[in-house]
């Protein structure tokens, strides 16, 4: 217990408290979202779930799907590199229970303390025109083999994508001891 308290006071801490509110602007309703938070090696997760999957929502009012998925993460860090980023995959579930990818998106967790409302735009990989025609009739479509391409820029130049809808997030950020290390945010 004593070792743990020394560990905490030597490091800066970040709390991410909020919700994945929902999504809008997608061609289909009945959507769910797989999400995860990716950080660099200097960050350690002290409590909370760093990934999850929301419920499937079918909206009755308007076209925005609402998930209200809670996020409560507590990180400790020794450095600023690898600031947490949130990556999202929006999927559509049809009435037969099949899932089809609707969009990938990512956004950095805000670095200034306070309340933030974030709109994260999403994109979907595009195939050839023949594949798009097939996709129009029976669904499906391309998916990334390695999802880390969502938040890395390394091999993006090989991709052809189309724009999809946006995911709304509300995040509250609490910083601790960052000012002791001379960090301004």
């Amino acid at each position: 217990m004593g070792v743990y308290s020394i560990y905490r006071y030597n490091m800066a801490e970040l709390h991410i408290i909020g919700q994945i509110v929902g999504a809008s602007g997608f061609p289909e309703s009945c959507l769910f979202c797989k999400w995860g938070v990716h950080t660099g090696a200097a960050w350690r997760l002290l409590s909370g779930l760093r990934e999850g999957q929301t419920q499937v929502d079918l909206p009755q009012i308007g076209e925005m799907a609402y998930w209200s998925h809670p996020i409560d993460l507590h990180y400790a860090t020794k450095g600023l590199q690898g600031w947490p980023s949130l990556h999202l995959q929006v999927w559509h579930q049809d009435s037969f229970g099949r899932s089809e990818l609707c969009g990938y998106g990512y956004c950095h967790v805000p670095s200034s303390p306070g309340h933030h409302r974030i709109s994260c735009a999403t994109w979907r990989p595009l195939g050839t025109w023949q594949e798009q025609l097939v996709q129009k009739f029976i669904g499906g479509g391309h998916q990334l083999r390695k999802p880390d391409l969502i938040y890395s820029g390394a091999d993006r130049y090989r991709l052809n994508t189309e724009a999809m809808g946006t995911v709304e997030l509300e995040l509250d950020i609490i910083l601790r001891h960052f000012d002791k290390y001379g960090v301004n945010s």
Partner: protein, 199 residues
């Protein structure tokens, strides 16, 4: 009130459950409760309650008003597990049974000051059409055994829901000793009283 080395901070929540917007339903009441982590303890005020039953007014046919007061104070050593307000709205169906019209949850705002939140409300959806029909006929809709599950993220991936309304809640938030413990929650108003931060 002056403490040199506080080990806990306080969060004071004042506000109200203003009302709701459910286009298809009327005669609704709302149950609320707070869900919080292991490090949190409520020190004053109610942890749960039920509002009155309200109808849409003739003047404003879309608005349901509860105007229900919320006054609770929490103390904690750790912002993890920040309290959430969990709401469940109930109303009568065509046959007079009391059925759930929506569940929803929102985190209590972290920054001192005035905030308004519009909380989307959803109900669990039966997967089979026959089940939908029998549940409508018998008035036994799918419900959560414990409404507090909507405040957690685990186990949601297997649920299908239908969002069908909103509840408006307003908060006035004050905190004490968060700055002394090293926590920065972002911009708030001028600190008139030592220790308490409010706008």
């Amino acid at each position: 009130m002056a403490t040199s080395n506080p080990s806990v901070f306080l969060l004071s929540v004042n506000g109200q459950i203003q009302g709701a917007n459910f286009p298809e339903f009327d005669h609704l009441y709302c149950k609320f409760c707070f869900v919080y982590g292991h490090d949190w303890v409520p020190t004053a005020g109610l942890e749960e309650g039920i509002t009155q039953i309200t109808c849409k007014g003739k003047q404003s046919p879309h608005t349901l008003i509860w105007n229900f007061p919320l006054e609770t104070t929490f103390k904690s050593t750790n912002p993890s597990g920040w309290p959430q307000l969990v709401l469940s709205v109930y109303g009568p169906d065509v046959f007079g049974n009391d059925v759930v019209r929506g569940y929803g949850a929102t985190h209590i705002p972290i920054t001192p000051g005035q905030h308004t939140r519009s909380v989307p409300m959803f109900v669990p959806e039966p997967t089979w059409r026959l089940q939908k029909f029998t549940s409508w006929l018998l008035g036994r809709r799918p419900e959560y055994t414990d409404p507090k599950v909507v405040a957690h993220g685990e186990g949601r991936e297997v649920t299908r829901v239908r969002s069908q309304g909103f509840v408006t809640v307003s908060f006035h938030i004050m905190t004490k000793d968060m700055k002394k413990l090293g926590y920065d929650v972002g911009p708030s108003g001028a600190e008139n009283t030592p220790g308490w931060a409010a706008e």
